[in-house]
Symmetry: C2
Subunit: 326 residues, 2 copies
């Protein structure tokens, strides 16, 4: 490869990543070599992003890098795992220095917050496509999965729902959106600490990427249960709340891109959860309850059950073929 391009990669990736003690061999050999201890299990997730599919073509490279790391960290958060090592497959139309500089800055800003080291990858020329494989660890058997929800468990979500989808609506309609709202779309905060604190407390967990209905639906299906959600208990920003006044709950229920954690907690653990959340200043809200009857019922403040329908409940990024989750 031309030397100039090689040194761009060196400048913006190899030399900028943190150095963890458990990386025996990092970038620069045929593969990386990593050390786990005997009582740890390895947790692996891969998320890809394609320009024009997962983000508008004019998204800033800083935000693309930040979000690529965020969506993968969010998957580890929903497993209760501690993040450690990342491997990046980057396909670029050309080795644009400004783009690489900003992209890597966004990627490493979030990576360094979570002590994640870049341990390898592959950079090739082609249409802009990004894929990150992120590795974390959990103590043996302490991971959070989807199939443990039982009737009577309370349903919680972190943060607020629907902000990212509202920001995207503004962008697609060429409206001005407030910076705080845009940040919810472009720089989501993965709930990594929350996920780890849920070990031994949550009976099931999932990260919210496709909207509460779809993702809670995965927990319900995997666990063989149903649920009721109290719509007026959903944690909403004032902007999203304003959109629900006419009874349209599509943003918080099906907007997607929240990157919050949805989890279920048996009644015996709810005190422990609320104590631990209060102590850590973590924002979690109880929004419903797991029931034996299959299906998801969204209950209005008048006690009516809302039946979602129409395109409002489709994922805005419906061009995505399929996530083989993990």
């Amino acid at each position: 490869m031309p030397c100039g391009e090689f040194s761009l990669i060196q400048t913006y990736f190899t030399s900028r990543t943190g150095q963890r003690d458990d990386v025996i061999l990092g970038i620069g050999d045929d593969a990386a070599v990593l050390q786990l201890t005997g009582d740890e299990q390895l947790v692996v997730t891969t998320d890809a992003m394609v320009a024009g599919v997962h983000f508008p073509e004019n998204t800033s490279p800083f935000d693309i890098g930040y979000k690529l790391m965020a969506v993968n960290l969010s998957d580890l958060a929903a497993m209760g795992a501690q993040p450690r090592w990342a491997s990046l497959a980057l396909t670029l139309p050309d080795a644009d220095e400004g783009w690489l500089k900003a992209f890597s800055a966004g990627l490493f800003e979030l990576a360094s917050q979570h002590d994640v080291q870049l341990i390898g990858g592959d950079t090739t020329r082609g249409p802009l496509t990004l894929s990150l494989t992120l590795h974390g660890v959990v103590k043996k058997g302490r991971y959070l999965k989807r199939d443990g929800a039982r009737a009577g468990d309370a349903i919680y979500v972190s943060g607020t729902l629907g902000d990212a989808a509202l920001a995207l609506q503004h962008l697609l309609e060429n409206d001005e959106a407030e910076d705080a709202l845009l940040a919810r779309l472009n720089r989501p905060t993965p709930r990594v600490e929350l996920g780890q604190s849920l070990q031994g407390i949550a009976s099931a967990a999932i990260d919210l990427s496709d909207g509460l209905m779809a993702d809670l639906g995965h927990i319900l299906t995997a666990s063989g249960v149903g649920a009721s959600i109290q719509l007026h208990d959903l944690p909403l920003s004032k902007q999203v709340k304003a959109r629900t006044i006419d009874g349209d709950w599509s943003l918080p229920l099906a907007g997607g891109d929240d990157y919050e954690v949805c989890f279920t907690v048996p009644s015996t653990c709810q005190e422990a959860l609320e104590e631990s959340a209060a102590k850590a200043g973590l924002n979690v809200t109880r929004v419903g309850i797991i029931e034996a009857e299959p299906g998801l019922r969204c209950v209005t403040s008048a006690g009516e059950i809302l039946t979602p329908h129409g395109r409002g409940y489709e994922h805005f990024s419906s061009v995505q073929v399929e996530e083989v989750d993990s």
Copy 2:
């Protein structure tokens, strides 16, 4: 996602992969959970392939799947690692059932030979881009790296060199190529067993993806040494040998896509190597020697040092930006 597409992925990926005992949680949650033992280290490599860059646009999907697995297995081979788990990021223009069926058949044909389980990934719509992250293990400290070559060590390569590059030449010139030659391009055989047998024997190892000169060059640079190669000792098929008669050694030296292993062996270990290779029926050839003087000298049968130059020594896939190896 449309249900039909979901079930295609289910049919051709999730349900077709092998099931390893050390996969605690496979496809279907936010991430996979994997078990290592306390005396193992994790080895991770990522290689991406882009249509029109890494393979001609008309390459069969079976061969694309096979080769994607092969090039990653080849990296693990060069580390001496035992392959275990794969994560696939697949970007596709559309969910073409015939394509997915053939691609997955190629991928799993080679994966099952090496007991590799698909543990997750992400499939999205976009220009055809494929990225595989492959995980293996080595006993603690037993991996093969690049920086251990010392003056006096013998240099070996597996298999024969230049066949894949010759096959590509035929394809690009619309010539007929023999099936055996085409197979060397489209279905390379990763030297996984050889790599593992080199633990404790090889002082350095690398897989040959960019041609012997470039890849041996990485060992020399990392180890701070030089080398001499005897051109007439290079293991060549009769077709490649015929191309060297006029003194053009570009195919075996710089052709690329060999996916053989190049490794160095201290004189104290050469007997062990040749015994173990003979016993296992492994085809390895001594081609040169590591020297203290920096640089790579290619020596002809007349004792002259050939100085490679001109475009014959460039990688045919020179549009590739950079491999951040691993």
